[in-house]
Symmetry: C2
Subunit: 107 residues, 2 copies
Protein backbone atom coordinates (compact mmCIF):
# COMPACT_ATOMS: atom_id res chain seq x y z
CA UNK A 1 0.00 0.00 0.00
CA UNK A 2 1.25 3.44 -0.79
CA UNK A 3 -1.29 6.27 -0.63
CA UNK A 4 0.99 9.15 -1.61
CA UNK A 5 -1.19 11.84 -0.17
CA UNK A 6 -4.25 9.79 0.62
CA UNK A 7 -6.13 10.31 -2.63
CA UNK A 8 -4.88 13.82 -2.99
CA UNK A 9 -7.83 15.53 -4.62
CA UNK A 10 -10.07 14.62 -1.73
CA UNK A 11 -7.44 16.01 0.60
CA UNK A 12 -7.18 19.31 -1.28
CA UNK A 13 -10.94 19.75 -1.44
CA UNK A 14 -11.30 19.14 2.27
CA UNK A 15 -8.47 21.53 3.03
CA UNK A 16 -10.32 24.27 1.16
CA UNK A 17 -13.54 23.45 2.95
CA UNK A 18 -11.78 23.72 6.29
CA UNK A 19 -11.88 27.50 5.84
CA UNK A 20 -15.66 27.52 5.53
CA UNK A 21 -18.52 26.51 3.24
CA UNK A 22 -17.93 26.86 -0.47
CA UNK A 23 -19.69 25.86 -3.62
CA UNK A 24 -18.01 23.60 -6.14
CA UNK A 25 -16.86 26.12 -8.67
CA UNK A 26 -15.39 28.19 -5.86
CA UNK A 27 -13.49 25.20 -4.50
CA UNK A 28 -11.83 24.61 -7.85
CA UNK A 29 -10.79 28.26 -8.02
CA UNK A 30 -9.46 28.16 -4.45
CA UNK A 31 -7.31 25.15 -5.16
CA UNK A 32 -5.70 26.95 -8.06
CA UNK A 33 -5.30 30.28 -6.26
CA UNK A 34 -4.03 28.98 -2.95
CA UNK A 35 -1.36 26.89 -4.65
CA UNK A 36 -0.33 29.72 -6.98
CA UNK A 37 -1.46 27.58 -9.86
CA UNK A 38 0.58 24.58 -8.82
CA UNK A 39 -2.45 22.41 -8.17
CA UNK A 40 -5.69 22.29 -10.06
CA UNK A 41 -8.73 20.09 -10.25
CA UNK A 42 -10.81 19.57 -13.35
CA UNK A 43 -14.58 19.71 -13.21
CA UNK A 44 -14.61 16.14 -14.38
CA UNK A 45 -12.96 15.26 -11.08
CA UNK A 46 -14.44 17.86 -8.81
CA UNK A 47 -18.09 16.87 -8.83
CA UNK A 48 -17.56 13.12 -8.54
CA UNK A 49 -15.20 13.85 -5.63
CA UNK A 50 -17.78 16.05 -3.91
CA UNK A 51 -20.48 13.43 -4.40
CA UNK A 52 -18.22 10.79 -2.93
CA UNK A 53 -17.35 12.95 0.06
CA UNK A 54 -21.05 13.59 0.57
CA UNK A 55 -21.85 9.90 0.37
CA UNK A 56 -19.21 9.23 2.99
CA UNK A 57 -20.68 11.93 5.24
CA UNK A 58 -17.48 13.94 5.19
CA UNK A 59 -19.19 16.95 3.66
CA UNK A 60 -22.78 18.17 3.60
CA UNK A 61 -24.36 19.76 0.56
CA UNK A 62 -27.21 22.21 0.38
CA UNK A 63 -28.76 24.09 -2.50
CA UNK A 64 -28.35 27.77 -1.89
CA UNK A 65 -31.85 29.13 -1.49
CA UNK A 66 -30.99 32.00 0.79
CA UNK A 67 -31.69 34.73 -1.74
CA UNK A 68 -33.64 33.52 -4.68
CA UNK A 69 -30.88 31.90 -6.67
CA UNK A 70 -31.14 28.19 -7.22
CA UNK A 71 -28.09 27.15 -9.16
CA UNK A 72 -25.43 26.95 -6.47
CA UNK A 73 -24.80 24.06 -4.16
CA UNK A 74 -22.92 24.87 -0.98
CA UNK A 75 -20.65 22.29 0.58
CA UNK A 76 -19.40 22.28 4.14
CA UNK A 77 -17.25 19.94 6.20
CA UNK A 78 -19.08 17.75 8.66
CA UNK A 79 -17.62 16.99 12.08
CA UNK A 80 -16.63 13.62 10.76
CA UNK A 81 -14.95 15.28 7.79
CA UNK A 82 -13.13 17.69 10.04
CA UNK A 83 -11.85 14.87 12.21
CA UNK A 84 -10.72 12.88 9.23
CA UNK A 85 -8.93 15.89 7.79
CA UNK A 86 -6.98 16.30 11.01
CA UNK A 87 -5.95 12.66 10.86
CA UNK A 88 -4.93 13.04 7.23
CA UNK A 89 -2.82 16.06 8.00
CA UNK A 90 -0.91 13.96 10.49
CA UNK A 91 -0.52 11.21 7.92
CA UNK A 92 0.65 13.75 5.42
CA UNK A 93 3.42 14.98 7.69
CA UNK A 94 4.46 11.42 8.49
CA UNK A 95 4.63 10.66 4.80
CA UNK A 96 6.76 13.70 4.06
CA UNK A 97 9.11 12.69 6.84
CA UNK A 98 9.33 9.16 5.47
CA UNK A 99 9.96 10.49 1.98
CA UNK A 100 12.65 12.89 3.09
CA UNK A 101 14.38 10.09 4.94
CA UNK A 102 14.08 7.88 1.92
CA UNK A 103 15.59 10.48 -0.36
CA UNK A 104 18.19 11.57 2.14
CA UNK A 105 19.74 8.16 2.58
CA UNK A 106 22.49 7.07 0.28
CA UNK A 107 23.10 10.39 -1.42
Amino acid sequence: MFEPIKTSTYFLVMLVLRDGPRHGYEIAASIKDRSQGYFSISFGSLYPVLHKLEKDSLVEAQWQEAGDVKSKKVYKLTDKGSRQLTAELEQFNAMITAFKGFIGEGV
Copy 2:
Protein backbone atom coordinates in the same frame (compact mmCIF):
# COMPACT_ATOMS: atom_id res chain seq x y z
CA MET B 1 -3.41 17.93 -13.57
CA PHE B 2 -2.17 16.93 -10.18
CA GLU B 3 0.60 14.34 -10.06
CA PRO B 4 1.01 14.06 -6.29
CA ILE B 5 4.44 12.56 -6.38
CA LYS B 6 4.74 11.98 -10.09
CA THR B 7 3.52 8.39 -10.18
CA SER B 8 5.13 7.60 -6.90
CA THR B 9 6.07 3.96 -7.35
CA TYR B 10 8.22 4.80 -10.33
CA PHE B 11 9.84 7.50 -8.26
CA LEU B 12 10.59 5.15 -5.36
CA VAL B 13 12.00 2.46 -7.62
CA MET B 14 14.30 4.94 -9.31
CA LEU B 15 15.42 6.33 -5.99
CA VAL B 16 16.51 2.86 -4.91
CA LEU B 17 18.27 2.29 -8.20
CA ARG B 18 20.18 5.53 -7.76
CA ASP B 19 22.34 3.72 -5.20
CA GLY B 20 23.39 1.09 -7.69
CA PRO B 21 22.11 -1.87 -9.70
CA ARG B 22 19.56 -4.10 -8.02
CA HIS B 23 17.32 -6.91 -9.01
CA GLY B 24 13.57 -6.67 -8.64
CA TYR B 25 13.06 -8.58 -5.45
CA GLU B 26 15.85 -6.59 -3.85
CA ILE B 27 14.24 -3.30 -4.90
CA ALA B 28 10.99 -4.23 -3.19
CA ALA B 29 12.87 -5.09 0.00
CA SER B 30 14.83 -1.83 -0.16
CA ILE B 31 11.70 0.24 -0.47
CA LYS B 32 10.31 -1.33 2.66
CA ASP B 33 13.56 -1.18 4.63
CA ARG B 34 14.59 2.33 3.71
CA SER B 35 11.19 3.73 4.66
CA GLN B 36 11.06 1.75 7.90
CA GLY B 37 8.05 -0.07 6.52
CA TYR B 38 6.19 3.12 5.64
CA PHE B 39 6.26 2.43 1.91
CA SER B 40 5.95 -0.86 0.15
CA ILE B 41 5.41 -2.09 -3.36
CA SER B 42 3.63 -5.29 -4.28
CA PHE B 43 5.08 -7.64 -6.85
CA GLY B 44 1.99 -7.07 -8.92
CA SER B 45 3.16 -3.47 -9.28
CA LEU B 46 6.89 -3.93 -9.23
CA TYR B 47 7.42 -5.89 -12.40
CA PRO B 48 5.04 -3.92 -14.61
CA VAL B 49 6.73 -0.76 -13.31
CA LEU B 50 10.19 -2.12 -14.11
CA HIS B 51 9.06 -3.17 -17.59
CA LYS B 52 7.64 0.28 -18.19
CA LEU B 53 10.81 1.98 -17.00
CA GLU B 54 12.79 -0.29 -19.28
CA LYS B 55 10.55 0.48 -22.24
CA ASP B 56 11.08 4.18 -21.58
CA SER B 57 14.86 3.67 -21.45
CA LEU B 58 15.05 4.92 -17.87
CA VAL B 59 16.48 1.65 -16.63
CA GLU B 60 18.42 -1.15 -18.29
CA ALA B 61 17.87 -4.80 -17.47
CA GLN B 62 20.25 -7.68 -17.77
CA TRP B 63 19.98 -11.31 -16.76
CA GLN B 64 22.62 -12.10 -14.22
CA GLU B 65 24.93 -14.61 -15.85
CA ALA B 66 28.07 -13.69 -13.95
CA GLY B 67 28.29 -16.90 -11.96
CA ASP B 68 26.09 -19.59 -13.34
CA VAL B 69 22.77 -18.52 -11.92
CA LYS B 70 20.12 -17.60 -14.39
CA SER B 71 17.10 -16.51 -12.39
CA LYS B 72 17.97 -12.92 -11.49
CA LYS B 73 17.51 -9.87 -13.60
CA VAL B 74 19.59 -6.87 -12.65
CA TYR B 75 18.26 -3.40 -13.24
CA LYS B 76 20.31 -0.21 -13.38
CA LEU B 77 19.51 3.43 -14.04
CA THR B 78 20.43 4.74 -17.45
CA ASP B 79 21.82 8.24 -17.91
CA LYS B 80 18.41 9.31 -19.08
CA GLY B 81 16.87 7.77 -15.98
CA SER B 82 19.37 9.50 -13.76
CA ARG B 83 18.65 12.84 -15.35
CA GLN B 84 14.91 12.36 -15.04
CA LEU B 85 15.25 11.38 -11.41
CA THR B 86 17.09 14.59 -10.69
CA ALA B 87 14.33 16.56 -12.35
CA GLU B 88 11.70 14.67 -10.38
CA LEU B 89 13.48 15.36 -7.13
CA GLU B 90 13.24 19.05 -7.92
CA GLN B 91 9.57 18.67 -8.75
CA PHE B 92 9.06 16.77 -5.55
CA ASN B 93 10.52 19.55 -3.46
CA ALA B 94 8.46 22.14 -5.32
CA MET B 95 5.35 20.11 -4.65
CA ILE B 96 6.07 19.78 -0.96
CA THR B 97 6.58 23.52 -0.78
CA ALA B 98 3.29 24.12 -2.58
CA PHE B 99 1.52 21.70 -0.26
CA LYS B 100 2.95 23.23 2.88
CA GLY B 101 1.87 26.66 1.69
CA PHE B 102 -1.55 25.30 0.87
CA ILE B 103 -1.96 23.76 4.29
CA GLY B 104 -0.39 26.68 6.11
CA GLU B 105 -2.78 29.27 4.78
CA GLY B 106 -5.99 29.93 6.59
CA VAL B 107 -5.25 27.89 9.67
